[in-house]
Structures are given as C-alpha cells and as structure tokens.
Symmetry: D2
C-alpha cells in the first residue's frame, strides 16, 4: 500500500506529481444528497494561492478543478467524486543539473533510496502540488460538516518569532490577510521578518492553528483511532510539518495537574460552565462538545537561494546553488491544507460514530 | 469500527477494561520463524511497573502475560499471537460515589456522551491498563526488528521543568533509573519537583523521547502514511499525550531554512558525512538511514488529591475529592508504551515496504 | 497482514490453533447498549456440536465461552468483546508419524510452503476449531440484527445426492435435525448415504443455505463491497467451501433474460408484488428488501480412513492411512458457521450504510 | 465507505458513471521499476470491446486510456497511476420515460432505496462502464505478475447450454474468437443459441473461467483473506455474477472424499506428481503451486426488447418496453473483467506474502 488513501468511511485517494499530467483526488464515502457546486471546491483551491506578492510564488493561472463524477443535478449521489487539476506548466527544461544531486532539506534522497530511482524533474509526490487533492477533498468534507453545523477555521498562528496574540485575534481578517494571520500586529512583524529572510537568502517556518467549532460530543474512537491521534496523523502527513499539538499542547507537559484539568463552575441558573479548554476539546480521544484546537509546526522552506553543501547521486559532496525563485515561507499556503485535512478527519470520525450505539441504529432503521 | 486495531501488515488489536476480567492483545502479521519466548514479552510488561516507590502506584503482583496462540516450538508460526493478562484485583467495592460525577481531566464525560452510559468502576478502555496490550505487541515487534538490526530506546526526557541534557545523556542508566531518565542531574531535579507536587496535592507532566536506530533508508510511505505521520498517530493514541515532535520538532518552526537543512560534508576519504539531524531522520515521510527521533509531550496526571470542582452526571457542579493514592506523574510508565507504539509502527511500515519495488519482489519470488 | 480480521465497521479478529491453549475472537465495533448474555453466545457455540452420533465426532465436553471484556451490567459498552474458549484436550501424543507427511486434501503442504514450517500436531489455523471465534462473533452480530428485526436461518440444503426440496421445507425441524436439514425425506436419504460412506471409508460433501429475512433495502455498497461480494468472501473464507451462489446462482447462467428478471405485478389494491426472487434479494450489490438467499458448496471431509497416496515432507510419495475417528461429513457443523459469517457480513454493511445519506446523518446529529 | 477501493497492498480505486464526464481508476501500491507502456493498458481495454458484431453493442470509437500519473521514463515510480477514460457519447436525450420506472433486472430500484434518488440517465455506478477502471488496474497488475512468471488466461466457458469441452480446449483461439471461447464447436453452438435469443427478444447468460499459471505456492492468507475468498469477492463484485466456483466447485459437493482429495504418485525418478487438481490449486486458502482455476457464473443481460412488467417510481406496476439495441449476451465482455479482477487479487496477496516470514525480510533488508 503506497499510502495514497486517507480515511475509513470518508476517504480521499490522491494522485499526481508536480511534473506529470496533473494532480487529483477520488473522494469516496460522500453522503448522498448534499448540494455541492464546483465553485465550493474552486474556492478552497484558490485559498492555496495566497496574494501574488513577493512572499509567494506567482502562478499566472489558477488551478482549475474538473469534477469528473459523483454529482447529479447539483447533488452528491453517494458515489465517488473524482476531481482532476491538469498541470498547465509542463515546459520541457534541462533537468540534468538538478538530477545530479539531492536538494538539501528535500525528499530527493529518500525517494531514491525507497524506489531505486526518482522523477528528478521536481518534488514528484512530495511536491506541494500533491496537496491540491487534499484541499479538494477538504472542500467536500467541509461542505458536509457545514450542513451539520460544524465549521473549521485555520490560520497562520506564527511565522518565525512573530506570533499572533489571542487578545488581538480578529477572525474577520484571516482570509483578507496576505499571510492568513488573524492578528495585524503579528502580521506586520512577520512581514518584516520575511523581508529579512529574503535579504539573507534564507526562509522561515511557523505554525498553523485550526479551530473546529460546533462538533458534537462523542466524536472519536477510543484507543487507537482517537480524534487527536487521527488529527495528528492528518497534519503530520502534510510535508514540512514537524510537530502537532492538541489544546495547550507542549505547554501541558510543564503544567501542574490541578491547573491543567478543565474545571466547571455552576452558572447562576445552575447549569455547568466549563472554565477552560486546556485539553483542546478532546478527552480520551473523544470530543467533549467544546471547540477543538490543533496546532501544526512547519519547518522553514528548504529551498533557499544561498549556496549549500549537497550530496550528489554519485556519492560525492559539493557546493550547489538552487536556481529559480524561492518562497521565503510556505506557512500561509499550508493553512487551507491543514484545514482540509482536519475537515476530512473530523468527517470520517463523525461518519464512523453513526454506528456507535443501538440508539443511532434505531433512528436510521426503524 | 471502534478503533481497537492499529497497523496494516503488522497489526495489534487490543481489548479489555480496567475493571473487567483482564486485558490483552491479538498480534497479527507476525513474520513466521522468529524465535520468541514468553520472557521477552514479560520483560516489556515489567517495564510498565517502574520501581515501587512513592512516585508510582505499588501493585503487589506483576501483570503476567499468558500467550494463548501463535507459537510452536519456540518460534512464531505466522498466525496471530494472542496474549491475555488477567486482572487479579477485582474486589467488589462501592462505586456509587464515583458513578455520580465525571472526574476532572478524565474521559468519563466523553465516554458517557459517546455511548449513552459508561462503566463507572474506573477508566474502562481509557484506563492505563489498556496499554498492556500495546506493550505486549511492542515486545513482539521489537523482537522482529532486533533480528534485522533495528533497536528502539525510549526514555523520560523531562518531568515538569527538569529536562535531560544531551551532554549528560547516559544510555546505560535508563533502565536503572526510577524515572527512566538518562541524565542523573535532571533526575535529581525531577525527584525534588515530584516531592513538591506530592506536598501540593498536585501532579506533573513531562516528555518522552524515542530513538530508533539501525532503520534502513526508504521506510515510510509518501503522502498519507508517512513514517512521521504514523508515529504521530501512534503516540497521540496513548492517553495523556498532547503533543508530538519529529526531530527538532516545534523548534523547527522558529529556525531559518539554511540552518534547518541537514547538510553534508565530504570526509577525508570523500565519503559523505551528514552534519546534523534536525529532521529526525525523516524526509518526505521516508527514513533516510539516520537515527529517528520522536518526542511525545504528556500532560500531568489528572487524578490529584486536592479538592476540585466537578460536573455531576445529573448536570450540577459540585466540589469533589477523589479518594485513594494518586501517582504524581505517569511519564515514566509511558516510556515503554511509547517505545512499544514506535516499534509496532516502524515494523508495520517495514513490512509494507517489502513490496515497494520490483527488485524486492524478485529477491523473494525468483 | 495475516488476514485474521474480517469486517470494516463491525469486525472480528480470530486467534488460536487446534492444539494450542485455546481459540477466540475479539469483536470490535459492537454498538453500545445492546443487552447481551453469555448464554446467547454459548447457544451458538453449542450448535457447532451437532448431535453426538456416529456422523460427528463426539467430544465429551462443550466448548465453553469466556467473555473477557466489553460488557457492563448486561449490556455492550461499545468497546471490544473478547471471547476465549480454552482447549481442554491437549494430551501429549506422538506426532512423529503425521509430522512426516502432508495429509491429502488438507492444508498441511501449503502452510509448510508459506511459512517454512508448520505446527504438525493438527490443522493449526486451518482446523475446524478456528471457526469457534467466527461463531462467537456471529452470535453477537445476530443479537444486534435481531433487535433491528433482521433474522438469519441457515440449514443443510444437501448432503451428497440427498437434496432438500422447497416443497417439503420445514423450518421448525432445522435445529431438531441431527443434520440440520429442513426436509425429513432428504434427511433420511442423507443418513443412508452417510452410512454408505462410512462403510466405504469415505466421506460426503454438500451444501448449506442461509436465508436473511427482514433486511431493509439499501444495504451493500456499490462496486467492490457489494452485499453479494462480501457474503461470497465470508463463505469462501470457511475451510472446505468451494462454491458460492446468490439466489438462483449457477442456474442463472443457463436462464433466459426475460425469465430471470424478477418482475412485478399489481395487487388488487394496486400495490406492487414481486413475483419471483431469482436474484436472491440483491441487485447491483444492494439489498432490495426481499429475502436474501446464499448457498455455499462444501467439499467432502478430506480425512478418510482408507489408504491414500500422500506426499511426504522429504519429497517422496508413499501410502498412508490416517488413524482415528473421521466424520463422514462436516456439512452440518458448517451450518452455524455459515450463518455466523452471514450475520457478521450483513451487520458490517448495515453499519456502513448508516452514513450513506445526509438524511441518515441528520437523524443522528440533529 | 462507499466501497470503491479493492485491495490492501495493491489497490485500485475506481470512479465514474455511465453518463458522467468519464470513468477511471487510481492504482496504488504498484511496485517501482516496472516497465509499462500505455499500449499495455489500451490492449486490455480493447478486449472489453469484442468484435463489433450483432452480439455486442457497436461503439464507433475505442475507450482511450489517459495515463495521468505514476510513470517516469517508461517505468513505474511507486506512486499511484491515475488513468482516465473520458466519455465521448454524452448527447443530451430525453430521459423522462426511463426516469419514471425501475428497469427489471437492474439496480435502479436498489440505488434509489439506498441513496434517496438516482442518476436516471443510465446505470450510473452499476453500469458496465464502471469496469473500465477495473480492467485498467488489471492490465497493470498483469504486467507486474508477468515479470514474475505468472500469467492469467480467462475465457468464456459456456453461453447458455453451449459449454466448452476440456478436450477441445484451444488456448490460441481465445483472443481470436468473437465470443472468447476456446472451443470452436461450443462457439458454433453458442452463436446459434444467441441468434435464437435475438429472435425471441431475450438474452443469455454463461460462465467465465480464469486460469492462473505460474503462481508460487504459499500465496493467500489463512482464515479470512484466503486466496479463494478474495477471488470470490473479486468476481462477485462484478455486476451480473451470481456464482463463483473454485476448482471442481459445485461438483465437489457431490464428490466422495477419497476421490476429491488430490493425490500424488511417485514419478519414475521418485519425484512427486500431483494426479489431479480438484481443489483448483488452493488448500486452506493458500496456493499449492498448481494452476489456479476459478469460474464465475453470469446471469443473462437484464435488458431485453420484449415487453416486461415493471415497478414505477410512483409505486404502480405497468408494462414497459426498453428502447434501443440490447446485447443478447455480456459474457464475452466480462472475460477481460474477470481476468483483471483475478490479476489484481493475486498480485495483492503476492505483495502481502512478501512479509510472511523472517526469511523474506532477511532477503530484502540484509
């Protein structure tokens, strides 16, 4: 199993390389009867292309989603939705130079070791273009979830040292921001830091957070397929992600037990009020009805303009300089990818939970 | 799918509750012909019971592994190995009090929400005893890996603010240490901190690291079933884990691209030498032949002696005090669990990689 | 993956050999809140032991089911149900003779080829005792289905040339019959034929049918996981089954199209009446609300008393005679196994169908 | 899980409807380094279109395979191969009539029951066009198997009462025959029978057999994922298949034990010679190194020209007559589909077996 499928009940199978005919996804397990338009999918794909500025590679044309199956008269039929995005930019080039060495920080070496050779024209399956299929799948998952009152909001939480503050969190500006940051001050700081990176011929990393709101309690399977475990796998399967945190995450390791437990108080009318959400809405791998918070840490873009020492395919080491334009940061482009992976994961577990109790079955079959 | 199975080719299916007849595991996909003794499994289980001291609950008797199938004349047969550990300590008790409320920081509430009721006698499937099956499975996985020259070493990397230093890393003392810490100074600091926690009727969290050495390059599937993604799921599926990091982990988000890339230099004889391992031995989700490093962050034990506000099953909120003896830290007990989950994960991907190339198939079938 | 797990949402994982400590099953994905007693499982297991007569091996004691997890106060908790049946009859014997050759018609040779050696004390995993786990799983599945108004009825449809007639089908006598045959005349003929087989030191095969009644329309997934495809796999996974038929089965290959189509007529009140059920209740892999009919063909017991030519482990061929008592037929013992596999299969697809439409999701989550 | 994926290690995921943009498949788990051309896939697809004669619908143009990913410089890269066949013939038509009723013998009614509505323009996912993805996947699987010395040969074994005789089996004529029949006499009889069917406005069924030669012993997983169980599922997942037989199949139910056991004799040089292959090359679900033989029974085409009574969507029953040209038999078109499903199944189990023993692992990793 080459591992191109994610999910059990709702599952996406992605295909395609950076320098092939195209990329795409087959989305299986979509509940029948969902109103769905091509535009909903295109909107998600367009979010992969943040403002064409000096912080992100300009592509002259959008990635256009072609829906090849699974819809009839504007509704999902319950059969797989196949979506293809054809590559437009396949000009023949001389790849002899980059074929000779393994780019530092990339998967060139490991692909070669695994398969005995590699498609040296680009990142192949480890290219960022592979995420197009994930995002198309996420758009469909999010559409199902939205109908059930569940929403996802991902954003750039930090770039290098520039970190958003909860106090200045402005949800409305996320999709307006060139960096998808909800905090204007942090964004200014981030932009200045990125200018510095460009000047120094280097790149920056950062973190992405995703809020999942409206999720009912009870979602997630105990033991191995916990909600947090599946979200963790989903996010760590995105290239460049090197850490995942749930709720307070790494900070919880340093907390004291009586402070880290989310406690309740009685409201004036006696109803229970949860006083904190250190756990990020998940206990025992199961949602508790609060907002889910997950955070992914992303390493700096490995392609930088400055000279680096690289391993060559013939075994020697030498200095190289990778040509072309390099994005100083990929974190903003990863925002919609993270949101998509969370949407796919949550929907899958929501569908799996539909068979959790005899009561659920009675509602359906009686 | 209630999610009690982990793995594709090598798979463990665990069962059992804290207050039932016992706990156990069915281990399927074990390669045939591996010499294996019950003692190898028992040794792993015994590591779940760190030194009977004031930092860990004393149980008078060991958890005894009963191997019910899958071995013949001291070797694995290729058929499932079923292992049971029967619960010895099932005295009837009055559970009426703890049945009435949801313990803060535990999964009591979410289980109830998911299934409509819960086994109120203890943690049920979210109890630490569930990990016994994982550890038995990990012992078998580690035995296979050892025969192929692959070893795993997990240890407590920090407890609260007491953090092991790479400079003082002493591998030999890990299994000797009451806290499974490789750094004596850090251990002293940790013990003092735990004394403080006990005094303050609270508890501590910490981090566990696992090194995987000898793993060949090429292990891990591109895209969704990346080595790091599967390790992340494996570790986040362990109760109380709230963060997972690969290599430099969260620190990579703050690094600069040219520094974070693992570079090579030529040795005097011309052979390549990798100068760093920021990536933790994984690129594009595939091992590069270096040591794999993963880190799991663990929240403080939720059961503390002091008074807490808790939600009751009838909806009201009131002050409770959980009786009994409470461990001030569970991190040391999680060390062998983390190592086991890593072993299961790595073996599964190693077996999946056996069919990756035509060359591999020719070696087997020609 | 050694293939010891069956099902996606409702899944059974069996373990155990004929000459090991015992056999058993872990049943995962059981909906929570189902009232379930040990006796319900025992009743199914007892059906594996048809009347202790000369047509079936007499075992002095019943196979006793030990439920180790997954129940609380008489109801399922949603967590895995682990069931073990310990082998009682493990007297040490001299196996040197049967270790030296491969029994004709058995899996001795293929196990040896696959794994490099075999447990020569008996059938190992290919022993009939392996089906105990299936039957325990089937008992649980049938209990869920019964609560939803779905019932299964399996029976011996033929033994050798003695075949039950639809005209003489008497459902009430199935569980009373020593051969589980619903037709008394056919049973008499079968008993006479078996006497002949015993006299001739040979054995007989036959067919088992299973009716599934009350199944709602819409169960089964189009394309690969069709209801009939999954039933076919389920039945062919039972040792000795060499054919599977749905509805008219093999006879449909000889029919004419206009006769084979199940047509409707209008009842006097205008409501539609289906006039036939050639398709066995399945169209396009999906149930149509009619009775499902499947049939499994079972080969004669390979162990016979007469002399046979056998392949020896050292490569030579010689005459052997297998000692001990041999059942002249195993078809009656396979009846409850077939019923169990059908129950597991149907429940799994029923649970999977719970997420098929937005309407289903709204019923559960709104 | 809508069930559009088949296989564990080698897996195909098909998509597409008869009246959508196209149909296709994503093939994952293809071993890297296999030389593969588009023509190899096209050759298989062309076999779905038997001679354009009066026994099969004439399509003016071939189904053209577009390979969108997974190949580089004529070899497989180990990443998924995505293949699309775009539908050419999507003229708008008036579907109001066929939308009003459920075609007898088709899946129209069950799809409607499952999903709440249906794509009434044709068979949707239950159309024969869905098999295009299977055949493209089968072509790739067969190419891998061929490199390992394993070949598959499927053919029409019978149409109605016209059945091929083993004595007149002529392998060379299979691909030449308009009906893919290896026996010229049987073919003549079949053609006469089909002429009769056309005259009578009805249709015929038949059987397809597949031989798998060169398969090493040891392939297939004991218990649930037996070679025969997986082949059975694979074949029963093809629309219109109503029975599956392994080796002697249904005839084994009538055989006597001592006759049905495949016996050995010693050749003059002492080497063992297997005297029969009643079991079809499979014991205990594992291949024994002999030729595998499987047989699928196919019902007559449900679409016939004559008047039939049909159920209407509004609940009433009335006489209908389905317009258009109807194939009197689909068995020949199913030959390459059956061969493809067998290829996919066998390759999947062959890949799974690569991790069966420590010896295999040592060959790969040492």
């Amino acid at each position: 199993m080459a591992g191109s499928t994610f999910g059990t009940m709702f599952r996406i199978t992605t295909w395609g390389e950076s320098h092939g005919e195209g990329v795409g996804v087959v989305i299986d397990g979509v509940p029948a009867g969902l109103p769905l338009s091509g535009q909903q999918i295109q909107d998600y794909l367009d979010r992969r292309r943040p403002g064409r500025n000096k912080y992100a590679t300009a592509r002259s044309e959008a990635d256009e989603a072609h829906i090849l199956s699974g819809l009839f008269e504007g509704r999902t039929t319950g059969t797989p939705i196949s979506i293809a995005v054809y590559n437009k930019d396949q000009r023949s080039r001389d790849y002899s130079e980059i074929a000779s060495y393994y780019r530092p920080g990339h998967a060139d070496y490991t692909f070669d070791q695994k398969y005995g050779f590699r498609d040296y024209r680009g990142g192949g399956r480890s290219s960022g273009r592979e995420t197009i299929g994930r995002v198309a799948g996420g758009a469909v998952a999010a559409a199902v979830l939205a109908k059930l009152g569940i929403s996802l909001t991902a954003y750039t939480a930090s770039i290098g040292p520039a970190s958003c503050s909860p106090e200045r969190f402005d949800r409305a500006r996320i999709l307006e921001s060139p960096l998808y940051m909800p905090d204007e001050d942090a964004e200014k700081e981030a932009l200045a830091f990125l200018d510095e990176c460009i000047e120094n011929q280097t790149s920056a990393g950062g973190t992405v957070e995703c809020l999942i709101e409206g999720l009912p309690a009870g979602i997630g399977e105990p033991v191995f397929d916990k909600l947090d475990a599946e979200l963790g796998k989903a996010l760590l399967s995105v290239g460049a992600v090197k850490s995942v945190e749930i709720g307070d995450g790494i900070a919880a390791s340093l907390a004291l037990g009586h402070e880290n437990n989310d406690a309740y108080k009685a409201a004036p009318d006696g109803s229970p009020v949860k006083l904190s959400n250190h756990a990020g809405g998940i206990y025992g791998g199961i949602s508790d009805g609060s907002t889910i918070l997950v955070r992914a840490g992303i390493k700096p873009t490995p392609s930088v303009s400055r000279e680096q020492e690289a391993l060559f395919a013939d075994g020697h080491v030498d200095t190289i300089r990778i040509k072309g334009r390099h994005d100083p940061v990929i974190v903003p482009r990863a925002v919609v990818v993270a949101e998509s992976m969370c949407a796919v994961t949550v929907l899958d577990l929501l569908l799996r939970n539909a068979a959790a109790t005899m009561d659920h079955l009675r509602k359906i079959y009686e």
